[in-house]
Amino acid sequence: MPEILQKRILRRPDVFYYRVAAPLISRKAQPGQFVIIRLHEHGERIPLSLADICPEDGTISLVVMAVGKTTTEMSLLKEGDSIRDLCGPLGKPTPVRYYGRVVLVGGGFGIAPLYPIGRAMKEKGNDVITIQGARSSDLIIYRMEMMSVSDRLIITTDDGSEGLKGRVTDALRILLDEEGADLVMAVGPAVMMKAVSGLTRSYGVKTVVSLNPIMVDGTGMCGGCRVLVDGKTRFVCVDGPEFDGHRVDWDTLMLRQKTYREEERLSFEEWKKRHPHVMVEG
């Protein structure tokens, strides 16, 4: 079973970084791909984007925010613990090449998968600009990593505690007005990716988004992750996860993401009842 070699708290109390021993996966994984994990015999399968890939030391990295039962259980794993099932790399890699000016837009912990993408884009000689947003300054994660792969890092915060006061789309609008872009890549909550795609459409800038629907097998067998792209049914696990943001039916995606909201809440409540003293941290 793949061992957790390193764990860090990226943001108290709920965002964690894991470096996991996965020599075979790291050998093949490309930026933009994901893995599916299952923590125990009773566990569910959840997809996680790759936050880093290190074939040199045979590791991959994952960033997880504890929001529900499985992610909270994951947050309790320690260095030396193992992940029961780790399957990947899945999905198609980001088409990395020279575009010119590439703008990476990340919201929340969605910024993490943009790190290996940004690094690959940088290696191809792109001018990489990252726009990273959060509610406030202390919620910004992966800052050093993004700085290391970006020619410029623009921070936006809702409360103005750092950088531009406002949303990532406010910063993106200014950037598009003043300098333009050859490619925008947005990763984060669907509502943010929708807003970014809506904005870039009016500028005619190609926009790639990484979708995060409900998924089960991850190999095209179940069709649970289907989305409408240009009115056609596509499977995120094998056709994606990246799609042209201007062609995605966002409302359907967001609705489908809510399918199990009630069950997810129930499952988490049950778990908390059984684990009354667990502190979600460290």
Partner: protein, 474 residues
């Protein structure tokens, strides 16, 4: 005929319909030794047994039945396992009425011998006795074979190759081996413990199974061919087909694959004890008439549906599902909307509310030899439903196939193979099961796996040793 003939077959004890429709325990309870011996005594022991002819893997049926009759159940099991690794599975899920039992001489005048039930009985007996019916392998040949996919075709191929003394490694994409046997076929028809036990037997023969390994992603096909002396692809039927009608994107619309995978592989029927949820509808409509549709509709009942409905575009006579499954579904109170075809799904606040169908007239004969359904104009009607499950088949999954340079596919996107050997147009690469034929049965996939195993063995013997290059090792 010297002995007394018993015209009727021994009935299978079953959970009563009103009880079983709300639980996931097995429907059929299995014969007692007395029942099995009585049923075995009906066998005429034909010199040219039609039953063996009808079996895709040619189980020596009269021989095993004669052991049952004498009360040598372990020997009976060993006899079956000479050719079939999974009697516990096959006895439960094979369409015997169209295979072995269709060829039974007794069936010409009376009811055929209940071969499937006997097969199941000896498998269960053997398992209870600790699996002594397992057969042994030939001495090692030193040849290594990779098998992609651990469903029925891959498992049976692995079994035969391992018995021939070859070293076999199976790559499975999911976290649990068994393919459709674990994600598709429900617990009440095929308990997972039976599958696990029969796979354990395979491991005891020395077969290595690597789970969470997606060939084409984690390991390249070229690496497989460099590391192994031959490869068999048995990745199954693939991606679910949807109807392409309005409303299919609504919440509450499932592919049968997703619905069944959640319930079977992920044990969603035991949510929240298990983490994976599934929607429990009160009115569940299943579109399709095959075994998968029957599994889905009966699963929906067991999850608590007030009403579970099959929507099928032809009539009861054309239903492609196994007779026993249709019979069980009828007994359990499934409603059949026959000669009906969905035209759109209507929703409210993003969730399924009703499904609109049109009546179909059956006229003429189509290319499949079945009566052709034609929509009757103005016959639209709606069925209230909060869950719709689409069980209209699958298409080839391109995930692996598109990674294999030069692999010849047929018109439908499945792998083209030599029918006799299962060999593809690429040397040393074989394939079988649904990835060759499209959706079919467990036993026909097992037959294809066995056929390929024989061909692979022949191929390896006729070929000078190939040098191995750098390895894919965990």
């Amino acid at each position: 005929m010297s002995r007394k003939m018993i015209p009727e077959r021994t009935p299978m004890p079953e959970q009563p319909p009103e009880k079983r429709r709300r639980n996931f325990q097995e429907v059929a309870l299995g014969y007692t030794p007395e029942m099995a011996q009585r049923e075995a005594s009906r066998c005429l022991q034909c010199k040219k047994p039609g039953c063996v002819e009808g079996c895709p893997v040619h189980v020596p049926i009269p021989e095993f039945i004669s052991h049952v009759k004498e009360g040598f159940f372990i020997e009976a099991c060993r006899k079956i396992k000479e050719v079939n690794l999974m009697p516990g599975v096959c006895g439960r899920v094979c369409p015997q009425e169209r295979q072995c039992e269709a060829g039974c001489l007794l069936g010409k005048k009376h009811e055929p011998v209940a071969i499937g039930r006997l097969e199941r009985f000896v498998a269960d007996w053997d398992m209870k006795e600790g699996g002594n019916g397992m057969v042994s392998a030939e001495p090692s040949t030193g040849k290594r074979i990779a098998i992609v996919g651990s469903g029925p075709s891959g498992l049976s191929c692995a079994y035969d190759l391992a018995r021939m003394g070859h070293e076999v490694t199976i790559f499975e994409a999911l976290h649990e081996p068994g393919g459709v046997l674990v994600y598709g076929i429900p617990e009440f028809r095929l308990p997972k413990a039976i599958v696990a036990q029969e796979i354990k037997g395979l491991k005891e023969l020395g077969v290595e199974i690597i789970t969470n390994a997606v060939v084409g992603k984690l390991i390249d096909f070229e690496e497989i061919m460099a590391e192994f002396d031959a490869c068999f692809i048995g990745t199954g039927a693939g991606v679910p087909r949807f109807m392409g009608i309005d409303g299919e994107e609504l919440n509450g619309v499932y592919s049968a694959n997703e619905f069944l995978t959640r319930v079977n592989l992920m044990r969603a029927y035991d949510f929240p004890e298990y983490d994976t949820p599934v929607k429990r509808g009160s009115r569940v409509a299943v579109v399709g008439g095959g075994n998968v549709a029957m599994d889905a509709v009966r699963t929906a009942l067991r999850l608590g549906a007030m009403e579970a409905i099959i929507i099928y575009r032809r009539s009861m006579t054309e239903l492609p599902a196994r007779h026993e499954e249709v019979g069980h579904a009828v007994e359990e109170g499934v409603r059949f909307e026959l000669c009906s075809c969905p035209v759109r799904i209507m929703g409210e606040d993003g969730w399924v509310k009703e499904i609109e169908c049109v009546r179909m007239d059956l006229c003429g004969i189509d290319e499949s030899g079945r009566r052709r359904p034609v929509p009757v104009e103005g016959s639209e009607f709606t069925i209230a439903a909060d869950i719709v499950i689409v069980a209209i088949g699958t298409e080839a999954n391109p995930l692996l196939l598109e990674h294999i340079q030069g692999l010849e596919l047929n018109k439908r996107g499945y792998i083209s193979v030599d029918e006799e050997t299962g060999m593809t147009n690429i040397e040393g690469l074989f394939a079988g099961g649904d990835i060759v034929t499209g959706s079919a049965t467990v036993i026909s996939a097992m037959g294809a796996g066995r056929k390929a195993a024989r061909a692979i063995d022949g191929y390896l013997k006729n070929r000078v040793g190939k040098r191995r290059r750098g390895g894919v090792r965990r």
